[in-house]
């Protein structure tokens, strides 16, 4: 599957970037984002590690390919190692008023962090919040159909919607939600392809002049294609953001209900974050994130604080420190410090 992803991604990038001159007039672009990190993390009572990480070097090709047809694809290269994946690659039809129909592999529109906030040049705290790993498996992209758009209620206020049907998450009975991704045609890891589709979407309201942005998301689908068990995974999410001048406050909460033969597993996670932009350059930030898992030992709280210095609107140097407030099951507190340079280009 990885080989196919790499080949498909590279082919897409090369095809778009190397398109004939006629196409270049339509504004085909090669963009993306990259970051470099230096990390210090506690790994034991008396141990720690310091390492460099080329966390992302992601290339995005996008452009109008014919009249109302738009294509976009992102090849994701992570950690400077062998991990190369196709994060998304889709065709989008733009011919209907206020309605976009997208087909292909896309980032599943659930909440804000998964689809909008996670790129490192946007995410104000290096690393994803707790809850965006084992409760919602960010970054989650999947193959299917996606309908989205907006309707204006009044000047500056609009209702936004996303609805999708995808192959869905799939994996082992009661398995970690993060391990349920990559249910595409070639994935046979769970004993065969899942014939059940997953449905969901997000409904939101944006009040521009007041700086409010509220939304609710849902996802449901069988994650184990077994007539005898018929196990379903359902996710609900709520997100809110408020910005006023340099102040931005945002948060998300996710609730998961995962059927398992031993009983339903309830998981929840989320974060709250506040940042304040000073003089258009400095931006201190604090974030509290958590996850509550079925096993008490897996519960976790994390307090993160840091500061960004913006070199340009899409490039910054960020410093952050994570303080983990552990339950007893964790051997160490895993506190970590991160220095990151990022750029969206």
């Amino acid at each position: 599957m990885r080989v196919i992803s790499i080949v498909a991604g590279c082919a897409l990038v090369l095809a778009l970037a190397g398109a004939p001159e006629r196409a270049s007039a339509q504004g085909l672009m090669l963009t993306g984002y990259a970051d470099f990190e230096a990390r210090y993390a506690k790994t034991g009572p008396d141990n720690s590690e310091v390492f460099f990480d080329n966390y992302h070097f992601n290339l995005i090709a996008l452009g109008k390919i014919y009249k109302n047809l738009f294509a976009s694809g992102e090849v994701e290269y992570e950690h400077g190692g062998e991990e190369i994946m196709l994060e998304y690659a889709f065709l989008s039809y733009t011919g209907l008023r206020n309605v976009r129909i997208t087909a292909g592999k896309f980032i599943v529109p659930f909440g804000r962090f998964n689809k909008d906030i996670h790129p490192t040049w946007i995410n104000k705290v290096p690393d994803r919040p707790l809850g965006m790993d084992n409760v919602f498996p960010q970054t989650y992209s999947d193959v299917g159909l996606w309908v989205s758009g907006a309707a204006a209620l009044s000047p500056g206020t609009r209702v936004v919607y996303d609805a999708f049907v995808v192959n869905g998450l799939m994996g082992e009975d009661g398995g970690d939600i993060r391990d349920l991704r990559d249910n595409d045609r070639d994935d046979l890891s769970a004993g065969g392809r899942d014939n059940n589709k997953a449905f969901g979407g997000r409904l939101g309201v944006e009040v521009g002049p007041a700086g409010f942005d509220l939304g609710a998301s849902a996802y449901t689908g069988n994650y184990l294609d077994d007539p005898a068990t018929n196990l379903t995974l359902t996710l609900f999410g709520a997100d809110a953001a408020w910005s006023h001048r340099g102040l931005e406050i945002r948060g998300e909460a996710i609730f998961a209900s995962q059927d398992a033969t031993g009983g339903s597993l309830k998981k929840k996670g989320g974060y709250a974050q506040a940042a304040y932009l000073i003089q258009g350059r400095f931006e201190p930030v604090v974030r509290l994130s958590l996850k509550d898992m079925p096993g008490e030992d897996d519960d976790r709280r994390r307090f993160s604080f840091g500061c960004s210095y913006y070199l340009a609107p899409s490039s910054s140097v960020r410093l952050a420190y994570h303080v983990n407030m552990e339950s007893e099951g964790f051997v160490t507190n895993n506190n970590a410090a991160v220095a990151q340079f990022n750029i969206g280009f």
Partner: protein
């Protein structure tokens, strides 16, 4: 219960998807640009890309930011108005020029930056709202509330220090977005100097 809730949610989404959306927001592109793009990241200055590139970017951003067609068109018009000019057909192709990126983000850059032109910067970034002469009567002003400041007003000019003007330009004020990160300190200083010219007493013909 879960199934029913999910079904209701899906039905709501479908209803919105097929409903006619004729209640269009009549807002200026700069206002929508500031508020919508700023929801996720710092709004990118118009001059960063060419008009063709903005066309492609807005197709992508309209999808990601769930903009109405009218909002997307207004933002695109604003961005294309201040877009980077293309020297040749070849330079319109692609935007990935690492040396240009490095030169633009480094504190000093790899090449000596040109002296900021306050008048040009004002025309590209400010005149849409504040108007050509700074009277707060730009094309976008009608849709803004509160209205853009009349920079030509001598009372306003007297009430602000250069530092205050620079802070407002860099960090934003009211509905005005900040331009500091996008333009840099030298450009902000050049804008302050040009704004002072707008408020300078005009010589009368003898």
């Amino acid at each position: 219960m879960t199934r029913m809730t999910s079904a209701l949610f899906a039905a709501g989404l479908l209803g919105l998807a097929i409903a006619p959306a004729r209640l269009e927001a009549q807002r200026s592109g700069v206002e929508i640009w500031s508020q919508t793009c700023g929801r996720c990241h710092m709004p990118q200055p118009a001059i960063r890309y060419t008009a063709d590139q903005w066309e492609s970017i807005m197709l992508d951003m309209a999808l990601f930011a769930r903009m109405t067609d009218d909002d997307a068109a207004a933002v695109l018009a604003f961005l294309k108005g201040g877009a980077k000019k293309v020297a040749s057909a070849d330079s319109a192709r692609g935007s990935f020029r690492p040396w240009a990126v490095l030169a633009s983000v480094g504190p000093a850059g790899l090449t000596p930056p040109p002296e900021p032109d306050g008048a040009a910067l004002y025309s590209q970034n400010c005149s849409a709202c504040h108007g050509k002469a700074g009277k707060g009567d730009g094309a976008a002003a009608a849709a803004l509330n509160p209205k853009p400041t009349n920079l030509a007003d001598t009372t306003f000019q007297a009430s602000r220090t250069d530092t205050q003007l620079a802070e407002a330009i860099a960090s934003g004020k009211g509905t005005m977005p900040g331009f500091g990160a996008g333009l840099g300190n030298d450009a902000v200083k050049a804008l302050v100097a040009y704004v002072r010219l707008l408020g300078a007493p005009k010589e009368k013909n003898p």
